[in-house]
């Protein structure tokens, strides 16, 4: 049952992911965005199969619920007609392929290194803890974030804050100058 679900969800993720960037039926950016939503939902299905319920829920909440809605917002407001008329870019496709191959190489390499015979016992212990508690229960996740990984966590928060302040500063109208005029 779980295996079948895994294959269904991964096939959906891949198919929808491909349709986001390479859709032979439509060059409409909104269609791409909607396929991105489907990709993310099927990916959170994969997370559920890994018992990472928290990650799955947050994935849908943040990406499908907020980020892509904003994408749609921008696409609709800008009314991107040009993109629909443009044909496939050879250079873009080429560079995309190269980055896909590079990323795949890195992932395969890391996986191979992790699962060598040398650290078989380590893999076994990871498997055991996984079976006991699930991959990412909310409580242990929170504890880890605020104890062991507190520095990276704070750095990320600071980065987000900077981005937010920057956004507000950029989009704010300079009222004092306008009044002076």
């Amino acid at each position: 049952m779980q295996d079948t679900l895994f294959y269904i969800f991964s096939a959906l993720t891949l198919l929808c992911g491909i349709l986001v960037v390479f859709n032979p039926f439509s060059r409409n950016p909104v269609t791409s965005a909607m396929f991105l939503v489907l990709t993310i939902i099927s990916m959170s299905g994969l997370f559920v199969l890994l018992k990472a319920f928290f990650l799955a829920a947050v994935q849908i909440l943040v990406y499908a619920g907020a980020v892509i809605v904003l994408f749609l917002f921008v696409i609709m407001l800008l009314d991107v007609k040009e993109e629909e008329r443009r044909r496939f870019q050879k250079f873009g496709t080429f560079m995309g392929l190269i980055s896909v191959i590079g990323l795949a190489a890195i992932i395969i390499n890391t996986t191979n290194q992790t699962f060598t015979i040398a650290n078989q016992s380590e893999v076994q212990s990871i498997k055991e803890t996984f079976n006991q508690s699930g991959a990412a229960e909310t409580k242990p996740l929170g504890k880890l974030l605020f104890t062991e990984y507190v520095l990276p966590f704070e750095i990320v928060s600071l980065l987000l804050l900077v981005a937010m302040v920057g956004c507000i500063l950029l989009s704010k109208r300079n009222t004092s100058k306008e009044e002076a005029k």
Partner: protein, 349 residues
């Protein structure tokens, strides 16, 4: 009934889950949606000193059947200039999330030896927020698919409004879970059964959640997306027949879902603090009684939704954004910090 007990556990689980889904959706929620439309019309008539629909059946109780028949028999008109796929997709997308939210709502303890919750997820509340946040797609797609000005403006307004109020809503429930220490909705109800309801401990959170719920379901005083006087019909201007009905019913289904969330989070779910109704049910009658209590509380909120709609005028759009971002978000942040300070000083090791 012997054969049910003889089934393997997995099949038994699947069978009962399916049964629970069918009963909740088709026997409880959809009739409730239909009758809240009647309630809306009767209560509005009562507030405006009219009679309201009272001709179909005794006291107008068969009105939903007449309305449904009328919707089906109307011409399903698809304008020439719409984007067809999205035009068909949008009404379904606006109806489904509201029904999906109900999967994690514990509406009782036990019926026989089955839990009275479809899926006892340990991140229940995040799931509901995730699904609720998907409901914005129905409106956005409707506006985009209609390919004309009023629906487009309506959908743009609505997506901005829903995203803004989702933040306030999400942050307002954080203190609740700081008190309970769990994200599971069943645990939230158990916590309230053993003490006071959370509405008495977190009144500010409740008020913010309630108001955000009005905004999330696009009800007056926050019905910007379809404000008739400015935008004709808003996002569903181009829709007719059953497609329009799906938007219309989706709004009520969303109201029911949000009301159920409020009952579970703040009003103690299926519990009542007297006559031993705080205990998990042992007999079938008690189990059904608890579900009755839950539905009673839910109807209270539905009544409130309808009552407010006919009492208050609509906000202006900039006022709505101001309240969301400049009042509720800071207020709920302050609430989180206060709760944290309180818990820090009262925490026993």
């Amino acid at each position: 009934m012997e054969w049910i007990n003889n089934l393997p556990a997995e099949q038994q689980f699947a069978l009962f889950s399916l049964l629970k889904i069918l009963i909740t959706v088709f026997a409880v929620v959809l009739p409730m949606v239909a009758y809240s439309v009647v309630a809306e019309r009767r209560i509005s008539a009562w507030i405006q000193d009219r009679v309201g629909p009272n001709r179909v059946g005794p006291w107008g109780l068969l009105q939903p059947a007449a309305d449904g028949l009328k919707f089906i028999l109307k011409e399903d008109f698809t304008p020439n200039y719409v984007r067809k796929v999205y035009f068909w997709l949008a009404p379904a997308v606006s109806m489904v999330p509201a029904l999906m939210t109900l999967a994690v709502i514990p509406f009782g303890t036990k019926i026989g030896n089955q839990n009275a919750v479809i899926s006892d997820l340990n991140v229940g509340i995040l799931y509901t927020f995730g699904i609720v946040s998907l409901s914005v797609y129905g409106i956005v797609l409707a506006g985009y698919a209609s390919n004309s000005k009023y629906p487009f403006l309506g959908s743009i307004r609505s997506s901005a409004q829903m995203i803004s109020y989702e933040i306030a809503m999400g942050m307002s429930v954080v203190p609740v879970f700081m008190l309970v220490g769990e994200l599971n909705l069943t645990k939230v109800v158990e916590y309230q059964a053993s003490g006071a309801w959370i509405i008495f401990k977190q009144p500010v959170a409740f008020v913010i959640f309630l108001i955000a719920a009005f905004a999330e379901t696009n009800r007056l005083p926050f019905d910007m997306p379809e404000s008739e006087s400015e935008l004709v019909g808003g996002y569903h201007t181009e829709y007719s027949s059953m497609k329009f009905a799906l938007f219309f019913l989706g709004e009520y289904a969303a109201m029911i879902a949000v009301s159920a969330m409020m009952v579970v989070l703040f009003l103690g779910g299926w519990t009542l603090p007297f006559a031993g109704l705080n205990e998990p049910a042992e007999s079938l009658v008690m189990g059904l009684l608890q579900i009755g209590i839950f539905i009673g509380k839910l109807l209270l909120f539905m009544g409130l939704f309808i009552w407010v709609r006919w009492m208050l005028p609509r906000f202006r759009y900039d006022q709505l954004m101001d309240i969301g971002w400049k009042r509720f978000v800071p207020l709920s942040l302050a609430n989180i910090i206060l709760t944290a300070i309180y818990l820090y000083f009262t925490y026993k090791k």
